[in-house]
């Protein structure tokens, strides 16, 4: 019998709805991990996402990564652009996971969504989570399209790599004409992230 010694791999699960920019966001994170010297695997799950379905992507990084997808209960970071999709990811999380979640519900055709139920469930998820209406922060920067980059800034505060790898990745992936805007958004996210991290930290100390 062998001992399945788990190699030191960390992972981010991106979850959202078709059109949310999950693929680009996960590309940026994967690139940042590569630039930081990690081995990286990324896997996208988007059966028919163009038609409004759920989209998710795993980014796994570490010294050596084999599997492109992660196991239940093993995801370290959740990056969710929508609350129902965040809840769908629940089974992949554990008590040490950190969730950056956009406070938003995308309606589903011909279904009434019990928003109270969604919020109650999200409340019950036992992870460290930052649930915030990032659209408001994006609007402050004058562009609703930079929500993901702000969230990436928040995420970067919790990840074991220098923030400059993220900015380098953004530089490489985001088109020139919206680059400055996105870098601003990333820094805005860092401000939010540093804030929440300190708060969460103090709460844990108490």
């Amino acid at each position: 019998m062998c001992n399945g010694s788990k190699m030191d791999i960390k992972s981010i699960l991106f979850a959202g709805v078709g059109g949310d920019g999950i693929i680009t966001a996960s590309n940026v994170a994967a690139m940042a991990c590569m630039l930081a010297g990690f081995d990286v695997k990324k896997s996208e799950i988007h059966g028919m996402s163009q038609r409004g379905g759920s989209v998710s992507a795993f980014v796994r990084f570490g010294e050596k990564v084999y599997s492109p997808t992660d196991a239940l209960g093993q995801v370290n970071y959740l990056f969710a652009t929508e609350k129902i999709e965040a809840l769908r990811a629940n089974k992949y999380l554990n008590t040490a996971s950190i969730g950056i979640i956009n406070d938003r519900i995308v309606p589903i055709i011909n279904q009434e969504i019990d928003t109270e139920y969604i919020d109650k469930k999200l409340e019950s998820v036992k992870i460290r989570k930052i649930v915030k209406n990032f659209a408001e922060d994006a609007l402050k920067l004058g562009n609703p399209k930079v929500i993901n980059t702000i969230m990436m800034g928040v995420l970067s505060c919790y990840m074991p790599l220098e923030k400059e790898y993220f900015t380098e990745a953004i530089n490489k992936i985001i088109p020139k004409r919206i680059l400055t805007l996105n870098l601003d958004a990333f820094y805005e996210g860092i401000l939010i992230g540093e804030n929440t991290r300190n708060k969460n930290y103090s709460r844990e100390v108490n």
């Binding site: 062998c2 399945g4 163009q50 038609r51 409004g52 196991a71 209960g73 999380l93």
Partner: protein, 585 residues
């Protein structure tokens, strides 16, 4: 692209294209299908290559075979079910063999992320007696593709490269350059009656020579470094291939691995020795027990599907579970798994403005029996549209409609098919319907693009994979040329007129063809007009919800239209029973 070595995060599909280029491929042809579609998009970006879409996989593979015989390394791409369509040339190309290297790339879809079945195409390798390569990651996808051409020429056979969704659509770091191999051999095009003309007298000899080649390949498989042993420190052995290797290696890093890269013919002797060197050996493979059976036939003591499922995609959890069952891993009882919440599903839906929607709404009201096909429009089968009653394989709509309309009179039969699907395998059934006087109403949803798989052009698009323009094939003219009298073109955004024609044709006891001409709202370019608005005249009857438009929501007993999503197609306004409840502003 340039010659320098780059380190980048690339997908399996991109890696296949790079590998093909480095391996000196000059010609590629395929038909789109998830998860294979992006390979040709990547390949066409290289200089001095010819990449093109075919109307179906058979045509694509035959074009690649022709190019190979003409002396050019070539490959064909398709999804797993595409190889069913291309099975005819595949089987006999094993007899003719190739000239310059020929590779058939098939991308299977375990788990059916976007497919109608999850057949395991490894059986095609055994069926046709062709070598099959299975990469486990992006680097191997690139390297094996190069190797596949070498193997093809060495044994004078097409090679099959088998990918799966998780290989095609996963990304990893690869260091590569885009230099072609040097010392390219020159293959002259030769008229070789015995080799390329498969009449019985030649084919009989070619079958014998194929059997000999496969014997040689078996020896080769046992010697090739593509089938390799990764030594571990424990006493157990794992035999695996493709993506499964990654799950097993991560869970049992200390086990001995036999990693099969050339899945057919299997390196049986080498595995036999491997199995003898370990206490116990287990085969981990996705879908069918292909390797397990090959080994058991040869008397090699292995276990496999006893512990692992034969359906669906494998993953870390499923492989872990199997390894626990067979005793290779201790049961991990400490781990608490968070709840899998009961949540509303987010099914895919036709896009706002999709021109398929009004047709299904009309069919929903008229209630004929609809034999359907595969494409975005298959979503017309889902509630609340619920207006498609069969979906089997591409091209089956018209032909199944012929059979159904011939043997009964109770149901009016409508066959519905998309443009790309029509060109794929719908034309011949249309000819059959005409020849056999089928009393059928055929609706062709000609949105001028292959939308389902990401917007690849087709004969109706008027431009090809390389953006070269051509005069599009007019489906109505084609139908008339066949001899069909009742051929009509409609614009679905003109809801009333479309409904009038469909209703009339369903009720006429004759063959008719209705070509619905509105283009796709997503590709080649996004179409968005001014959004519509719901006024306070809305009576909350929910009629507009029945068209299943993502832009329409229902709040406080009234419909609301999301201005960002609405494309202004007016279909909701057309179906609304209250004048002035939905308006243009």
């Amino acid at each position: 692209m340039d010659d320098r070595t780059t380190k980048a995060i690339i997908s399996g599909n991109e890696a296949v294209a790079i590998g093909a280029y480095k391996g000196n491929a000059h010609f590629a042809s395929g038909y789109p299908g998830t998860p294979s579609s992006e390979i040709l998009d990547y390949f066409k970006q290289f200089k001095d290559v010819i990449a093109q879409w075919a109307s179906n996989e058979k045509s694509g593979l035959e074009a690649a075979l022709g190019a190979s015989i003409a002396g050019t390394r070539s490959f064909a791409t398709m999804k797993h079910v595409g190889l069913n369509v291309a099975a005819d040339p595949l089987m006999t190309s094993a007899y003719t063999g190739v000239n310059a290297g020929l590779v058939v790339v098939t991308a299977d879809d375990p788990g059916m992320h976007s497919s109608q079945n999850e057949q395991d195409n490894r059986y095609y390798a055994k069926f046709a007696k062709l070598p099959m390569l299975e990469p486990s990651n992006e680097y191997e996808a690139m390297a094996f593709m190069q190797y596949a051409f070498v193997l093809s020429e060495k044994f004078d056979l097409p090679s099959i490269m088998r990918l799966t969704t998780r290989i095609s659509h996963s990304l990893g770091i690869v260091k590569y350059d885009t230099r072609r191999l040097d010392n390219e051999k020159i293959f002259k095009m030769k008229k070789d009656f015995q080799k390329y003309v498969m009449i019985p007298s030649n084919a009989i000899k070619k079958h014998k020579s194929l059997l000999k080649k496969i014997e040689e390949l078996e020896i080769y498989s046992n010697e090739s470094p593509i089938n390799r042993i990764i030594k571990g420190r424990s006493s157990v052995g794992i035999i695996t291939s493709g993506v499964s290797y990654n799950y097993a290696k991560e869970l049992l890093p200390d086990a001995h691995f036999f990693k099969v890269g050339l899945t057919y013919p299997m390196p049986v002797e080498k595995i036999k020795n491997f199995v003898e060197s370990v206490d116990r050996a287990v085969v981990i493979e996705e879908l069918e027990p292909f390797m397990e059976e090959e080994l058991k036939i040869a008397g090699v003591k292995v276990e496999g599907k006893k512990y692992f499922p034969t359906d669906g995609e494998l993953n870390l959890d499923i492989v872990k579970n199997g390894l626990e069952k067979c005793g290779f891993l201790k049961k991990d009882k400490s781990k608490v798994i968070f709840e899998d919440f009961e949540l509303p599903k987010r099914p895919p839906a036709l896009c706002p403005g999709c021109p398929h929607r009004p047709v299904f709404d009309i069919l929903h009201s008229l209630k004929p029996y609809v034999t359907g096909d595969i494409g975005c429009y298959t979503l017309g089968a889902i509630a609340p549209l619920s207006a498609m009653h069969t979906t089997v394989c591409m091209g089956a709509s018209i032909s199944m409609g012929i059979g159904a309309s011939k043997v009964q009179d109770d149901e009016k039969i409508v066959s519905i098919i998309g443009d790309s699907t029509f060109f794929h395998t719908g034309i011949q059934p249309l000819v059959d319907a005409y020849m056999n006087n089928a009393k059928l109403t055929i609706i062709i949803l000609d949105n001028r693009i292959t939308a389902m798989t990401g917007g690849q052009p087709n004969p109706s698009s008027g431009f090809n994979l390389n953006n070269k323009k051509f005069e599009p094939v007019k489906i109505a003219s084609l139908a008339r040329t066949i001899g069909i009298k009742r051929v009509f073109e409609v614009d679905q955004y003109n809801y009333e007129e479309t409904k009038r024609i469909i209703e009339r044709e369903i009720n006429i006891d004759e063959l008719s063809v209705i070509v619905a001409l509105r283009p796709c709202v997503l590709s080649p370019k996004k179409i968005k007009d001014e959004p519509l608005v719901v006024t306070d005249k809305c009576i909350g009857c929910k009629r507009c919800l029945r068209i299943a438009c993502p832009a329409i929501d229902f709040v406080n007993n009234k419909a609301v239209i999301d201005a960002d999503l609405c494309t202004g197609c007016n279909v909701c306004k057309s179906v609304c029973p209250v004048e002035g409840a939905i308006i243009n502003v």
